[in-house]
């Protein structure tokens, strides 16, 4: 346990951005809430919000407030996973790390834990705490105002709505981590394998695959599958209108489609559907294979 803890702390010592970025985003949002009378958010293609339930409006505000954390988390996870096994070879510190009684399996799995799970967990915790503090700030202000979506004022607090939203986000995050695991493992493998420029390799290989496919079959199947991952996930993990989720894709899908729903309640979750998805399990299988390959590379590659 102490070993695990130390290994994780070492990752946060090296990659300070992992905790500094969520902290900065939180501070920036709180500052926004403290300074501005109105914070206007606009959602395109949304039906009129005037008649939307109070709780739904509050929850929409929560999503808007959480989005910066999650967008940053995706970028952070990508850059961390691409760098973590490459960086130690670039500065030759791998010769120091490998002189410690820590197995390569443990090292690689720790990095995966940090890059895939802890980055998301931090984003979630930072978003939750920020939303609480924001509500506190807004409630304490004498001049009213607050968050406004499409010209409609968002309520300052709604306990049930907040709890429901946290549960939905937590479920969504855990699901997304499982769903996107093959991408995380792919980045980790590139990081373990590339002798230089892991980012260029990580981008180039899929682009090459796209070109080959197009030249051979004249199709864009790979591109469509890869591009539709997030929408596909939302449609699988949540009871949303699948077509809408897919066509909108991205994070906007959830608020956009949910406007047609009564509110963001726990019935939106569809874990049985998610767990029954072949895509999920095939993805996890591919992730496991790539992680094993990354471990073998760290273990057997000669750094002479």
């Amino acid at each position: 346990m102490k070993l695990m803890q130390t290994q994780v702390r070492r990752e946060f010592w090296e990659h300070r951005a992992l905790w500094m970025i969520p902290l900065s985003i939180g501070a920036a949002l709180l500052l926004l809430a403290a300074i501005f009378k109105h914070i206007n958010v606009s959602i395109d293609n949304a039906p009129p919000l005037d008649s939307a339930p109070r709780t739904t409006l509050f929850q929409l505000g929560l999503i808007g407030w959480a989005l910066p954390f999650y967008c940053a988390a995706i970028i952070q996870a990508t850059s961390y996973l691409l760098d973590c096994l490459y960086g130690e070879r670039r500065d030759r510190s791998i010769l120091f790390w490998r002189s410690m009684p820590v197995s390569d399996t443990r090292v690689v799995l720790t990095k995966l834990l940090v890059g895939a799970l802890l980055v998301a967990a931090l984003a979630f915790a930072a978003a939750a705490i920020t939303s609480l503090l924001t509500s506190a700030i807004l409630a304490a202000r004498s001049h009213g105002g607050g968050i406004v979506i499409n010209s409609v004022q968002v309520p300052v607090w709604d306990t049930l709505g907040w709890l429901q939203m946290q549960a939905l986000m937590l479920y969504g995050l855990l699901g997304a981590i499982l769903w996107l695991a093959p991408f995380a493992a792919y980045l980790l493998l590139i990081s373990a394998w590339a002798r230089r420029a892991p980012l260029a390799w990580a981008v180039m290989l899929p682009v090459l695959l796209l070109l080959l496919e197009h030249m051979a079959f004249g199709t864009y199947y790979v591109a469509r599958v890869a591009g539709g991952q997030l929408g596909e996930f939302l449609a699988t993990a949540f009871r949303l209108d699948g077509q809408t989720a897919r066509s909108l894709g991205g994070a906007i899908a959830a608020p956009g489609t949910a406007l047609g729903q009564p509110r963001f309640n726990l019935e939106l979750m569809d874990p049985a559907h998610l767990l029954a998805s072949a895509r999920l399990w095939l993805g996890l299988l591919a992730a496991a294979a790539m992680i094993l390959a990354a471990i073998r590379l760290r273990r057997y590659r000669d750094e002479a």
């Binding site: 702390r9 443990r106 057997y300």
Partner: protein, 285 residues
Amino acid sequence: MSAIIEARGLSKHYGQFAALDQVSFELQAGRIVGLIGRNGAGKTTALKAILGLTPYQGSVRVLGREPMHERSALMNDVCFIADTAVLPRWLRVNQALEYLAGVHPRFNRQRAAEALASTSIRLDSRVGELSKGMVTQLHLALILAVDARLLVLDEPTLGLDLLYRRQFYDTLLNDYFDKDRTILLTTHQVEEVEHLLTDVLFIDRGHVVLDSAVEDLAQRFAQLTVAPDKIDAARALAPFYQRELFGRTIMLFEGHSVEELRPLGELRTPGIADLFVAKMQAVAS
């Protein structure tokens, strides 16, 4: 007492090039062994094989373990500095202490902190802010605070000035080394470690050319400053090395008795550095 390191038919090829070619040797406990060779002789490759850092052919056992497959378990008892300046630049000194205390069951934090206190390294400094010599000092302070059975040092004092080098070898000998520990080290500065080695292992172009305890060298080798009129007689005994110095001829012999050589000139035991130069040139010719 079983060997600390046992290598049998150890080979390593990089493409066509054989960095190590069927090398065999053993290291016993409580010895300080100098692995000596020119650049590219295979020293570092041998160390890497011993430490499980590179795949190889043949068999290697370190403390009874196979290093390539049991590296992490082995590192409980083995410490090494495979290269200087491999501590990551972002690491703070106190983080380094914290890290070793967290992952290494044999690390004595107190001891490392004491060693650091005698230097000008500050605990809140980052490695990137330290001079090259200080980084080496830090690395050594960390490694010497681990209670290991085998310590492997590849050019440990590279980049240190004379004072630090002397200090380091004194610490190694007085505070660290005891009969239960084994030290395997490589260095360019043979003269500096000559007095502390108990064994030497010369390696050249992937082959072991000399494997001997230092105490046996005197019986095996002799350096003769040949009397001018005895040169032909001396040459007849087939020296493996000969050179001229200030008009005098110096020859090195292996396996001749003192009685045989003494009449031919001035006799002494060659130093390790002399022996190394002689052996390397003998192999080359």
